[in-house]
């Protein structure tokens, strides 16, 4: 009589161990797994500055266009983006590649600040709003050798810095900010003109756009400026328009400047010895430590006793400097980051490092970079975390909430933040995955 098979019963320890050893091993990441570089953007979407067309024109008919992207959203790019800049409603992304397409732009293009984007419907006209990162055709002599180092965006113009062919400017030139002669009644929309600037005393290493003016810093440490000067932001000693980049003197004559910054109508420069120089608009007490006038048209040395300054960032109404020991100082007007009670100050005030994550548990956390938007501030720590504070205009802080932020708040980005570019109502960051 056939016996019934015995029930399985709980597996003994030996059976469990054998089953475990026999199990297949999965490999998700090999030894050569590299960290990928990604781009994240957040803020106001209707201008197309975030580069995701489905925010403005949804794919399906029942979906509604998204007005604000409150948290970081990944932007797919073909190449690794090394430099990004946010203007007033548009964004430029640049890569260090040797391919023909080196710079992509998206957002507002009403003044051809993104070059000429040929419309597919009408071959003679250009797009006024570019919703996807589109390559900008630069008139390079050696397009397969030149590399783009940096881009910068202002209100309606943009600058592209290359390593061997000077600086390319495009966009609105009604104040000479593109470095060429102002043409009366020039129509900037749909213009093919991209101007090239080569005559500087040495190679240009940094370009900065203010609201309607441009600053160029050369390798020798001199600063050139052109554009609107009614607030003295060109620093040339007068309040007129300059249409040709001219060297600045004043307190920075002979000083080796290592960094320039501007976004609104005020400008800051940092020398190699850690001193800070400022010029331009001072209506918001930005330069009130040296002068009572509201416009300063010659660079003045700002005698702050805060230590060696490593980096400076200029916003619309407030300024930010980073010292060598990793501390952040703010002054000016607006939401400065020290609670709702500090609205304006003429003297730099330090933001307590505990707000950036430094504690007894992790005492070596310090701020590595500082950036400014029009009324927002951003700080990057050496651990790759991004802190933002300021006015939350149309969700540009990326915190997920719509309220203003009175002290530094961490932005949740899936990766280590390498760089961030702040605009008026949107921000773009370059992130490395883990």
């Amino acid at each position: 009589r056939r016996g019934l098979a015995a029930a399985a019963g709980p597996p003994s320890t030996r059976q469990l161990r054998e089953a475990e050893e026999a199990a297949p091993v999965f490999q998700y990441a090999g030894k050569a797994a590299r960290r990928t570089d990604r781009v994240f953007g957040w803020g106001f979407c209707y201008s197309g500055a975030l580069g995701v067309p489905s925010f403005v024109r949804p794919d399906a008919g029942w979906k509604k266009p998204r007005r604000i992207q409150p948290t970081p959203y990944r932007l797919e790019t073909e190449e690794k983006i090394s430099s990004a800049a946010c203007g007033y409603g548009f964004t430029l992304l640049a890569s260090k590649t040797r391919d023909i397409n080196k710079v992509w732009g998206m957002g507002l293009n009403k003044d051809s600040q993104l070059g000429f984007q040929r419309s597919r419907r009408d071959q003679t006209k250009g797009y006024e709003y570019v919703l996807e990162p589109s390559p900008i055709p630069l008139p390079l002599e050696k397009p397969q050798q030149t590399r783009v180092l940096q881009v910068s965006c202002g209100r309606a113009h943009s600058l592209v810095l290359t390593d061997s062919e000077g600086v390319f400017t495009m966009g609105n030139n009604s104040y000479g900010q593109c470095g060429r002669k102002v043409v009366e009644d020039e129509i900037y929309s749909g213009s093919h003109l991209i101007h090239q600037l080569k005559e500087f005393d040495s190679r240009v290493v940094q370009v900065v756009c203010g609201q309607d003016h441009s600053l160029f810093r050369t390798k020798k440490g001199t600063v050139y400026a052109c554009g609107w000067g009614a607030d003295g932001q060109t620093g040339l000693g007068h309040y007129n328009i300059t249409s040709v980049p001219t060297q600045l003197h004043g307190d920075i004559a002979g000083v080796n400047i290592i960094q320039v910054s501007s976004y609104g109508d005020c400008c800051l420069a940092v020398s190699d010895e850690g001193e800070v120089f400022g010029w331009g608009n001072s209506e918001y007490l930005q330069l009130a430590s040296v002068t009572e006038t509201t416009q300063v048209n010659v660079p003045r040395h700002l005698p702050f006793k805060i230590g060696r300054v490593k980096e400076a960032a200029c916003g619309g109404t407030g300024n930010l400097v980073l010292t060598e020991d990793g501390n952040v100082f703010v002054w000016g007007y607006g939401i400065l980051g020290k609670g709702p009670n500090l609205i304006e100050t003429a003297v730099p005030e330090m933001i307590p490092p505990s707000l950036f994550g430094r504690s007894d548990f992790s005492p070596d956390v310090c701020v590595a970079h500082v950036r400014c938007g029009l009324s927002q501030f951003a700080a990057l720590t050496n651990r790759g975390e991004l802190f933002v504070w300021g006015k939350n205009l149309r969700g540009c802080l990326g915190t997920g909430r719509m309220e203003d932020q009175y002290f530094p708040w961490r932005v949740t980005v899936p990766g280590e933040v390498v760089d961030v570019a702040c605009g008026v109502d949107h921000m773009v960051s370059m992130v490395r995955s883990f």
Binding site: A23, A29, G339, R383
Partner: protein
């Protein structure tokens, strides 16, 4: 406890008749012990002890476990409302994933782990700290726009004073020897299973898998490993001494917070 010398019986003044032999018929005041306090009448002093437990500890976990006796139970509720952080040492092992996140569960998957370095682990830990820091600020129910919120944030004293999901306030790597690693975690409102889940998620983030081998609580509010009694010292004298040593600490902590 009952064998220890108890309270001395209460004394009362009673008027007793004069001892026989003196001939006087009058009452003499004498101090005699109250009969109701006699040990044979009263019985043993302690028949039941009310013992309450502090924060829960799993069967598979070990470490400091706070108990309150008698009046201590009320102090326990007060300590609970203080919402102090607890510190755990969590040991993990890369390469395996099980269904209950610990090394005694059923195997789900085995993965490679040779690409994991200490630097990658520390990066992941920094991210965990960052997201939990945000959760800390959000669940503390303070209006972010006020000056006092800013001042508390500077000092690092913002804490959720009510119910909240588990929050990790600090995490760091103590040891790393592939495939084993050990973390020190400071947390609030957590369960040990949540910590095992965190270990599992760390494994997933590093594109591998991890199981938790050990969870040990080394601090629970004010009580550290030094105050805790090991199994060999579970006798009356040590317990009484420990209670006496901790009283002062508990009082200061309660006064500071409440």
């Amino acid at each position: 406890l009952n064998a220890a010398p108890g309270r001395a019986p209460r004394q009362q003044v009673r008027f007793l008749p004069a001892p026989a032999g003196s001939g006087a018929v009058e009452l003499v005041a004498a101090r005699v012990p109250v009969l109701a306090d006699h040990p044979r009448v009263r019985g043993p002093r302690f028949r039941k002890l009310k013992i309450g437990a502090g924060h829960r500890l799993d069967v598979k976990a070990s470490g400091v476990f706070v108990l309150g006796i008698g009046h201590g139970n009320k102090l326990l509720t007060d300590l609970y409302n203080c919402h102090l952080t607890k510190v755990y040492t969590v040991g993990g092992l890369f390469g395996k994933a099980t269904d209950d996140f610990s090394d005694t569960g059923n195997l789900v998957e085995k993965t490679t782990f040779d690409h994991i370095t200490r630097e990658k682990l520390e990066r992941i830990l920094a991210v965990i700290q960052g997201t939990n820091q945000k959760a800390l600020l959000m669940y503390s129910n303070i209006d972010m726009k006020t000056q006092e919120a800013y001042e508390l944030a500077v000092k690092g004293l913002i804490r959720p004073m009510g119910k909240s999901p588990p929050i990790i306030t600090a995490i760091r790597c103590l040891q790393f020897a592939v495939p084993e690693f050990q973390l020190e975690i400071h947390c609030l409102h957590e369960t040990q299973q949540y910590l095992r889940k965190v270990v599992h998620e760390i494994g997933l983030e590093l594109k591998s898998s991890a199981v938790c081998t050990q969870v040990r609580r080394i601090r629970d509010g004010v009580f550290t490993l030094d105050d805790a009694l090991p199994r060999t010292q579970w006798n009356l004298q040590s317990i009484q001494e420990a209670i006496r040593n901790c009283q002062l600490k508990v009082e200061t902590e309660l006064e500071r917070t409440l």
